[in-house]
Symmetry: C2
Subunit: 224 residues, 2 copies
């Protein structure tokens, strides 16, 4: 009811055997391969970073990038709390909403989605070479082609930027797809049911007002 089947009661297992990522409700929705994890991370644009500050959870959106089995996070979002107390656990969640599942009963309404949940203790990236590479990952994830098309960071800019590295060790992926799962008597009663798919896309690039006339939108920006 009211999206009853959307969210798992607990984080589903998949890619690790930890207690936190063990399958709870809707066990069938746990995806078990790393390819699924990387697919979600590649397709989504932002993540939600959760940490604990003064005993309370804090959840903030931020950009990220992936290199091999490391998730790099733009750390300014949580720079103070996480940098001042190293060794704190975080939870990074990445969600792709794929569609609204419209059942014949209110109870069986749901969402089609793919979500990745990553637990771990992030490392503050201090090595300048790794930091530069991490920022390239983060930038290219959201804006492919921009890293080489724009002015590279100065040492001062690099120092002013905080980057966190989180291993993709303790992670889980959960997926719901397909039509609604109505009760037999509701199906028999007739009526429409189905899925309203979410469409993701880009609008036309908007050139900044201080760009001189005649400078075209670069090809790599046109992702239409």
């Amino acid at each position: 009811m009211g999206m009853s089947s959307l969210p798992p009661r607990s984080v589903p297992a998949a890619l690790s055997g930890s207690t936190r990522t063990r399958l709870g409700r809707h066990r069938e929705r746990g995806a078990v391969d790393r390819a699924a994890l990387h697919e979600v991370l590649t397709e989504a644009l932002i993540c939600h970073l959760g940490f604990v500050a003064d005993g309370s959870p804090v959840v903030l959106p931020t950009g990220y990038g992936v290199e091999a089995e490391t998730l790099y996070l733009h750390g300014s979002v949580a720079g103070r709390p996480l940098a001042s107390t190293p060794g704190q656990p975080v939870c990074v969640t990445v969600t792709l909403l794929d569609g609204i599942v419209l059942a014949r009963s209110a109870f069986h309404h749901s969402m089609n989605y793919r979500s990745a949940v990553i637990f771990g203790v992030p490392r503050v990236v201090t090595d300048p070479t790794e930091k530069l590479r991490a920022l390239e990952c983060i930038t290219e994830h959201l804006a492919p082609g921009q890293w080489t098309a724009t002015r590279q960071p100065t040492r001062r800019e690099l120092a002013a930027t905080s980057v966190l590295a989180l291993p993709l060790d303790e992670a889980s992926v959960k997926v719901r797809s397909g039509p609604p799962s109505d009760d037999a008597q509701d199906v028999a009663a007739g009526g429409w049911a189905g899925v309203l798919p979410v469409r993701r896309g880009w609008a036309e690039p908007v050139t900044a007002p201080d760009v001189p006339a005649g400078i075209p939108v670069p090809q790599h920006v046109r992702r239409g």
Copy 2:
């Protein structure tokens, strides 16, 4: 750099005067009226619910609805941890990514976004009348028109559903919009800069395979 200006270092203030919602970095991005909060909550589809379980943060996506100054959450996502230990604080974050900000320097890359962060201690909704109304809110938020178009919940379904209520008391909204903020020398150096807007929308509804031929997609589902 690498979306440097996206995430605030700490949660910005706006709608409450609590420490947690006080303005940190990018103070100018804090929106101060409740209209902005409700706009974000109306336009977004899902939220990310953060809570603490066994000392670690957990962030999970879930559906929500709003009635007056109360946020209703589908609580199955966190039913066990939150119901078993009442009085636990949560953080609910709702993010709309509006565009990728493509600057002339890697450092000034950013995102245009609107995000709402709500702190509080949720109440488990037990009154059947309120629960039904809350589920209507949650369902109608994602699927307008569906509540009355589908079979209403039975008492058993209602009992099997967990709903949390969170007051919109301690909340903040943060907004970034507009073109990149490049350094003067980068602007002078020329080159393109601008924003790639995110387009949100719906694809054509997909009818479930067990719907008999000839039953049309209801008008309220066509949100094209």
